[in-house]
């Protein structure tokens, strides 16, 4: 268990209250401090007063592109903060996108895109990976 003062803060935003609850539980169990929001609007307000160490956004909430908008907001306010985007868009529209190339990353401002539903342990593994890697700049792209 990690020391309370050094616990990293993760912002979890999803309009499905059960996703929020389960993610919160699994991340808290790993020693992270979780701040949750249930909508794009709520998250935008939260972000004004909080700099998370990492953020997890659902793509489609009250707007079709809520997750994209939040990615941009985070990267503008706190450029070094890694972001995970959860999306079911692939199944719904047949359009797939990924963050493997630097070009895609520059467009979608997320460091990782995961298909929904994603297992909590899958998300936790991604969180651990992103928090180990310095995301500022593009250094990790050539790692």
């Amino acid at each position: 268990m990690s020391d309370k003062s050094s616990a990293r803060t993760i912002l979890v935003v999803d309009d499905d209250p059960d996703v929020v609850e389960q993610l919160t539980l699994s991340l808290a169990a790993k020693g992270y401090k979780v701040v949750a929001a249930g909508s794009q609007a709520e998250a935008e307000e939260t972000l004004l007063g909080l700099q998370p160490d990492l953020a997890i956004f659902d793509l489609m909430m009250e707007n079709m592109d809520s997750g994209f908008v939040l990615c941009h907001t985070v990267k503008k306010l706190y450029p070094g903060t890694p972001v995970i985007l959860l999306t079911a868009v692939t199944a719904q529209t047949g359009v797939a996108f990924a963050t493997q190339t630097a070009e895609a990353r520059s467009w979608i401002k997320a460091d990782t895109v995961l298909d929904k539903p994603a297992r909590p342990e899958q998300i936790a593994a991604e969180v651990a990976r992103l928090l180990r890697t310095p995301v500022a700049g593009d250094a990790h792209a050539h790692a």
Binding site: P17, D18, V19, L25, Q92, P117
Partner: protein
């Protein structure tokens, strides 16, 4: 105007030129498809040339002589049929025997022209063939479009089912591993949430079955004279407990009987969906009023609530499949996103429709107009021919 390619295959040059001349300014118009077609005539003198031309560009209409120098029309027809092309064939023959006709029809010829034929006979046949070909193409296009819509529906449906499934699965794993500590209340809450999500899934499956029954037209409608007020009374009573739980007043405003020739089950589905929404999307201490007003062979249902309402933009897309208005106020409310599209489809079977007037934070008013169902309408409404109107010509 579109140009169709007509290929004439005949060893007599005079015949080929005659056909080209007859069709040079010929037009076929198909008002039902909003189409107007002219013809570009290409010529082949024998079977080999015919196949070569087809290989380069398949024609839309093939006018094929029965007797060719290097092969017979029937043999050529067989070869062309094996190529599986989207074209229509007219056979021309000087020896119009019954056997030839039967054999050619079996091989896929659409029409016959007995030689010698007049330009008028040729045009008649080309007109018929063109119409047949274009209607066939349109039918295929519509079928493909329908498949596309069904595919999209199914993929959205799969997604809608995946979310509650993942939620329940997630809770079960946590419970199994006792991953949330020692407080039993925490696990009780997870069981409750799982039940809520499963209930939502069940409702979606039931809505889906309703929708499928309506759209396939396979469910037998039991049409009879009934009083919509009586059906509304029963529906209101069904929802009184839900309303009480939300501290919502639910009242029926129906001063007089409202007779309608209808399927009772369908009217129930319409009322249940609207009343259930009016309670779900209401505020604590709010109200729902169901009004029923009858006319001659017509009934108007109005369900008015004092709920969260919606913007005009949300209202505009409300009646489509799987549309749920997502915002802070609706986040905790479960729904399949199918209820109102069911209401809309049912209302259209009563020569009517559904509309909504709404204001955010004030409430919504849903109005359904229904007319007597037509007794012969056992299947989809559009299968019933429109009644002839006076002065149509």
């Amino acid at each position: 105007m579109d140009n169709l390619r007509l290929q004439v295959v005949d060893d007599e040059q005079g015949m080929r030129l005659g056909v080209a001349r007859a069709l040079r300014h010929f037009r076929v118009s198909l008002p039902e498809l909003d189409g107007d077609f002219g013809f570009e005539v290409v010529e082949a003198a024998d079977g080999r040339q015919a196949l070569e031309l087809i290989g380069r560009q398949a024609p839309d209409v093939l006018l094929l002589d029965h007797k060719l120098p290097d092969t017979s029309g029937l043999e050529l027809l067989e070869q062309i049929r094996a190529m599986n092309l989207d074209l229509i064939v007219i056979m021309a023959t000087a020896y119009a025997s019954l056997e030839t006709a039967v054999a050619a029809t079996k091989s896929g010829a659409y029409d016959f022209l007995a030689k010698p034929f007049t330009p008028e006979e040729l045009k008649d046949s080309v007109r018929k063939a063109t119409r047949h070909l274009m209607l066939q193409r349109e039918a295929r296009r519509l079928a493909a479009e329908k498949r596309q819509i069904r595919f999209r529906f199914i993929s959205v449906l799969a997604h809608e089912m995946k979310a509650p499934l993942a939620a329940v699965e997630g809770y079960l794993r946590i419970i199994k591993e006792r991953a949330a500590g020692d407080d039993p209340a925490v696990y009780d809450h997870m069981v409750d949430r799982s039940l809520v999500r499963l209930e939502g899934m069940r409702k979606m499956i039931f809505d889906l079955l309703d929708l499928t029954a309506i759209e396939s037209g396979q469910k037998k409608r039991e049409l009879a004279g009934l009083d919509v007020v009586e059906v509304a009374q029963a529906a209101v009573e069904t929802f009184l407990p839900d309303a009480r739980e939300r501290r919502v007043t639910l009242t029926l405003d129906a001063p007089a009987p409202a007779p309608l020739f209808a399927d009772r089950g369908e009217i129930e589905i319409i009322l249940n969906n609207l009343i259930s929404n009016a309670i779900k999307y209401n505020r604590d201490g709010g109200s729902v009023t169901v009004s029923v007003a009858g006319g001659t062979g017509r009934v108007r249902l109005v369900v008015r609530d004092t709920g969260i309402g919606m913007t005009a933009a949300d209202a505009a897309r409300l009646f489509n499949d799987f549309v749920r208005i997502k915002n802070e106020k609706t986040r905790k409310i479960m729904g399949s996103g199918l209820g109102l599209s069911i209401v809309k489809k049912l209302a259209s079977q009563y020569d009517g429709g559904v509309s909504v007037a709404s204001e955010p934070d004030k409430g919504s008013v849903f109005t359904v107009e229904l007319a007597n169902a037509r007794p012969e309408a056992g299947g989809p409404a559009e299968a019933v021919p429109a009644p002839a109107t006076a002065g149509g010509n």
